[in-house]
């Protein structure tokens, strides 16, 4: 059943329309501007949930496909589609943006802020929905512009430096990818007979010589590794996160970083399976280094936001580990973890933003005893933090556990080292919690305000997501798994890689039944 309404196109164009409307409205009608931003983002969110509801689970093909010629001399088409891998990222994007728009006040220049945010949403949606290499590149790259202005315009002291670093770093990565994309299409012309940038056509019909495929994979991998970010290309991230406004951080951690890991799945494994298998050991090693390094660096931070930023490096390391372990479970776990990390870390950044609003500092040393002044705030922080650590029953556990159990089969030693990262996560987060929330509040902290109603509702939405996915991940799994299985089969069929068949683990995400 195909909906005749081009819902995927609408998901991209609606935010653009909203941004244009906001731009043309005079600055005087601030309430109208806010209303439009709200309507459009909630509308897109609603549509993404409708998409989730009408998505056929247990199917591995692309759904809601819409395809139109665009630049025919270059074989470029407007080709969108969604499958189990992208579905939840689209939904996450759809949910996160209205929450950010409704819940966070940028304090100045609302009009421009909201317009950039809506454009950003369009770009992110586009990257997750594109099934054409050219189209994907366009969205992948265009995202930089709104994010650049959001960090630069509404960030903290060193915002211009951070925004510029973010822009150039990511653009450098994509420079290689652009050459890679063109080379892929040009070289595949021999096999296919005509020039096309269509992902599915390329992946199914093109075959590259071993070395060519490796070079092409590397050109893509550099772009994605910067975006994820994978150690040692992560240095832009702490700066960008620390300097970005809260809304920017939430979006950055929530969905922007996922464009990199998603890219590895969609354009790395799918397009260059043999090369991805070849690069497996390197990327697994870098992922594990990222996990340990991110955790250690997070422990050392004195700035709460920087701490959360480094924890992202570690978490993203788990996702990359799962991707390059290439087993059904590890990939499913990675996809889940992409969403989970978006929710948990997004919520953490929100809370850190709230702390900054109240205290105008993020230095851990200057915060103390908040728990006794603002118990609900502390409890919220605790739940979100536990979800980030991966405590069973919350969302972080389901994804991380699947990643570890899946990776253990095909990348045992890497997984053993990576598993210590879980302990480290508990260490740095709990220690931070202890320093910030426990103890007797000093004078400055004794007036720390409790969650307001607006903040409470906002956090409730996040906690709802955390709890639901943690307790009942089945609906998510049955939508992700078919696509992931298909991807694994594709990799096996197009490379000499074999999925390890030993301990056939049946995973019940609650964790009560393991093994047969």
């Amino acid at each position: 059943m195909h909906a005749s309404f081009p819902i995927l196109t609408a998901l991209i164009l609606l935010p653009v329309l909203g941004a244009v409307l906001i731009t043309v409205i005079s600055n005087k009608h601030l309430e109208l501007v806010k209303l439009i931003a709200m309507l459009f983002s909630v509308g897109v969110g609603g549509m993404s949930i409708w998409l989730l509801a009408s998505f056929h689970s247990h199917e591995d093909r692309f759904q809601f496909v819409s395809q139109h010629d665009w630049v025919s001399s270059w074989g470029i088409s407007w080709h969108l589609g969604v499958d189990g891998i992208s579905l939840f990222l689209v939904v996450l994007t759809g949910i996160l943006f209205p929450l950010v728009i409704l819940g966070i006040d940028p304090h100045h220049d609302h009009k421009r802020y909201l317009a950039w945010l809506l454009l950003l949403e369009a770009g992110v949606m586009g990257s997750f929905l594109s099934l054409d290499l050219f189209l994907f590149f366009i969205f992948f790259e265009i995202v930089l512009v709104p994010m650049y202005f959001l960090i630069g315009g509404w960030g903290y002291d060193k915002r211009v430096y951070a925004a510029t670093k973010f822009f150039l770093y990511t653009m450098l990565g994509s420079a290689f990818m652009l050459v890679g994309i063109i080379a892929t299409a040009v070289l595949a012309r021999r096999d296919i007979g005509y020039l096309t940038f269509d992902l599915v056509t390329l992946a199914e019909h093109a075959s590259f010589a071993t070395n060519t495929g490796r070079w092409l994979f590397v050109s893509f991998a550099i772009a994605f590794a910067v975006k994820v970010p994978i150690f040692p290309l992560h240095t832009w991230l702490p700066d960008a996160h620390t300097q970005a406004p809260t809304g920017g951080s939430v979006i950055l951690a929530g969905v922007l970083l996922k464009m990199g890991t998603y890219g590895f799945l969609r354009f790395g494994l799918y397009l260059f399976p043999a090369a991805a298998v070849w690069a497996k050991p390197v990327l697994l090693t870098l992922a594990v280094i990222g996990i340990i390094y991110g955790a250690i660096a997070a422990t050392m931070q004195t700035d709460l936001k920087r701490l959360v930023a480094y924890s992202s490096v570690a978490h993203l390391g788990f996702i990359v580990l799962g991707i390059f372990a290439i087993t059904s479970q590890s990939l499913t776990g990675s996809v889940m973890q992409m969403v989970n990390h978006g929710v948990s870390t997004g919520a953490l950044f929100l809370l850190v933003g709230m702390i900054y609003e109240r205290r105008h500092t993020r230095q851990i040393a200057e915060l103390r005893g908040i728990q006794s002044v603002a118990p609900i705030f502390a409890a919220t922080f605790m739940i979100v933090m536990l979800s980030s650590i991966g405590v069973p029953g919350l969302n972080g556990f389901a994804g991380e556990f699947l990643v570890l159990i899946g990776s253990f089969q095909s990348a045992r030693w890497w997984t053993i080292v990576a598993a210590t990262g879980v302990i480290l996560a508990a260490l740095y987060l709990l220690w931070a919690y202890q320093r910030v929330f426990h103890g007797e509040p000093d004078e400055a902290n004794s007036t720390f305000a409790e969650l307001t109603l607006r903040e409470g509702v906002l956090m409730l939405a996040f906690i709802g997501l955390i709890g639901f996915t943690g307790l009942y991940p089945k609906p998510m799994l049955e939508r992700i798994e078919p696509s992931v299985d298909k991807l694994v089969e594709h990799v096996v069929a197009h490379s000499d890689y074999k999925v390890p068949t030993t301990p056939n683990v049946v995973v019940e995400p609650h964790g009560e039944k393991e093994g047969e």
């Binding site: 630049v71 270059w74 590149f137 315009g153 915002r159 510029t164 652009l178 050459v179």
Partner: protein, 497 residues
């Protein structure tokens, strides 16, 4: 007398020459009537200029259509070639001419110095450019080059109140004279080794159809000299040194004209000489172009980083754009793929971008035409948001951000390079583009993220608004729907021999 009787002139294809004649007519009219009738209506001179350029555009458009079935032909005793390549380049030149006329009118009205001279010089420069893009004879090419250059020297020095303008004109004149000498010497050497100055004749000689003295050393040195001469005109590194000084000193509309028309004409001539005349020796000149391209993209983008004057920044960015076009020329040198089409595509898009960008600089430059420091652009978004937005679009387009024409241009060039396996050049050019992007970000930062320093009223002349609007709309439309332009540039072929 005896000699003259035996001399039979070639038949003149008047219809084919309409574009050139139209500009010539406009120039003569301006100078004659302008000196006889002292008080012209406001923007009267600009209208005359614009109308002659529009006539030329229309004539070219009709020619484009007529060329649908034949591939073009040589005229005037094989001295000029009318083909889709020359027609497309002519259209780009004449469009830039119209926009320059608009900018000059705004500039002169602000300076309170309206007069026909600048317009007449624009038109004569345009004639030179049109001759260059269709010349099939190196001597005719040289005539066009000199007509263009002499007009540009005068235009650059035309602001008598600014010392920088004088300096710019003189510098350009001296260095340009040197480069012309190189070019001419190259012509002589090539004539010595092939026995022809006709571009198609050189090609025939090199492919062995006509037996001549074939001295390799002469020919190679000749090719080198030609590359130096034309490399200077397109401001390819290491012959770019004049560009920042001249661009900064010249009156802003003249800079816009120089950067667009001058570059289109020089690149079109370069491509015709290399691709038609020296096609047989592509293996000899291609490595040179490769090195020039590599050097130019990096010199342009790295040196741009340390500049503090927006006009200078744009000068360096135009150098790096020249490098990108050279990447396309190098790809064309492999004699397969679509290097010519992608270079033409880049030239057309670059023309629009550079026009729009300098139009904004003109709007900001104040009554002295000298307020072009980066600090003058601080907080522009607070003072004139629409102007800042337009500049941002054009700058991001120059950086190659998707959904703008600039991305289409870069994509096409990189694609043509990849198609002929020039991976090193493709990757290097993209990396240079990222370095170059820092420059555009710096200007964007000043406009959007810093507080205004100057509170002067920015008055934007309607003519400038028209140019900016045209450029921005074209940038976005081509960025979203590049198909039409791509098809047109793909048809841009040279006339068969």
């Amino acid at each position: 007398m005896v000699l003259a009787a035996g001399l039979v002139g070639p038949s003149i294809p008047w219809v084919e020459l309409i574009p050139i004649l139209s500009l010539l007519g406009g120039a003569c009219f301006l100078l004659l009537v302008g000196s006889l009738v002292p008080n012209w209506p406001r923007r009267g001179y600009a209208w005359v200029t614009g109308v002659s350029a529009v006539v030329a555009i229309v004539a070219n458009a009709i020619k484009w259509n007529n060329l649908y079935y034949n591939k073009g032909a040589l005229f005037l005793a094989d001295a000029i070639s009318i083909d889709r390549f020359s027609v497309l380049a002519s259209i780009a030149i004449c469009l830039a001419l119209v926009m320059s006329a608009l900018l000059v009118s705004a500039y002169l009205l602000r300076m309170n110095a309206d007069g026909p001279e600048l317009y007449a010089l624009l038109l004569t420069a345009g004639i030179g450019a049109l001759v260059m893009v269709s010349a099939n004879d190196l001597i005719v090419l040289f005539l066009g080059l000199e007509t263009l250059s002499l007009s540009l020297y005068l235009l650059a020095a035309s602001n008598r109140d600014r010392e920088e303008s004088q300096e710019s004109g003189l510098k350009y004149f001296i260095l340009g004279g040197f480069s012309s000498a190189f070019f001419l010497y190259g012509v002589a050497l090539i004539f010595g080794s092939t026995g022809s100055t006709k571009i198609s004749g050189i090609s025939e000689a090199l492919s062995g159809n006509i037996s001549v003295l074939r001295t390799d050393a002469l020919l190679l040195v000749g090719i080198g000299m030609l590359l130096v001469g034309l490399g200077f005109k397109v401001s390819a590194a290491p012959f770019h040194i004049w560009t920042p000084d001249v661009y900064e000193g010249a009156p802003t509309p003249v800079t816009a004209f120089m950067a667009s028309v001058g570059k289109v004409a020089a690149f079109a001539a370069l491509m015709r000489v290399l691709m038609v005349g020296l096609e047989q020796r592509a293996d000899d000149w291609r490595p040179v172009v490769w090195a020039l391209a590599l050097l130019t993209v990096f010199v342009g983008s790295i040196l741009a980083v340390v500049q503090t004057n927006v006009k200078r920044m744009l000068a360096y960015s135009s150098i790096s754009h020249a490098g990108f076009i050279l990447v396309g020329v190098e790809a064309a040198g492999h004699m397969s793929g679509d290097g010519i089409a992608s270079s033409m595509n880049y030239l057309a898009i670059y023309t629009v971008l550079v026009m729009g960008s300098f139009a904004i600089v003109l709007a900001m430059s104040g009554n002295s035409d000298g307020e072009t420091n980066l600090s003058d652009f601080k907080g522009l978004a607070k003072r004139r948001p629409a102007l800042a937005l337009a500049f941002t679009v054009l700058l991001f387009a120059q950086a190659g951000v998707p959904l703008t024409a600039g991305f289409v241009a870069k994509f096409a060039v990189i694609k043509s390079a990849v198609e002929v396996d020039s991976y090193v050049l493709a990757v290097a050019a993209m990396v240079a583009a990222v370095i170059g992007a820092y420059l555009y970000l710096r200007i964007a930062v000043s406009m959007w993220l810093e507080e205004p320093v100057s509170e002067n009223e920015i008055s934007v002349d309607p003519a400038v608004v028209v140019v900016i609007a045209l450029a921005v709309v074209a940038t976005l439309v081509v960025g979203l729907f590049p198909e039409l332009l791509l098809q047109a540039t793909r048809l841009a072929r040279f006339a068969p021999r």
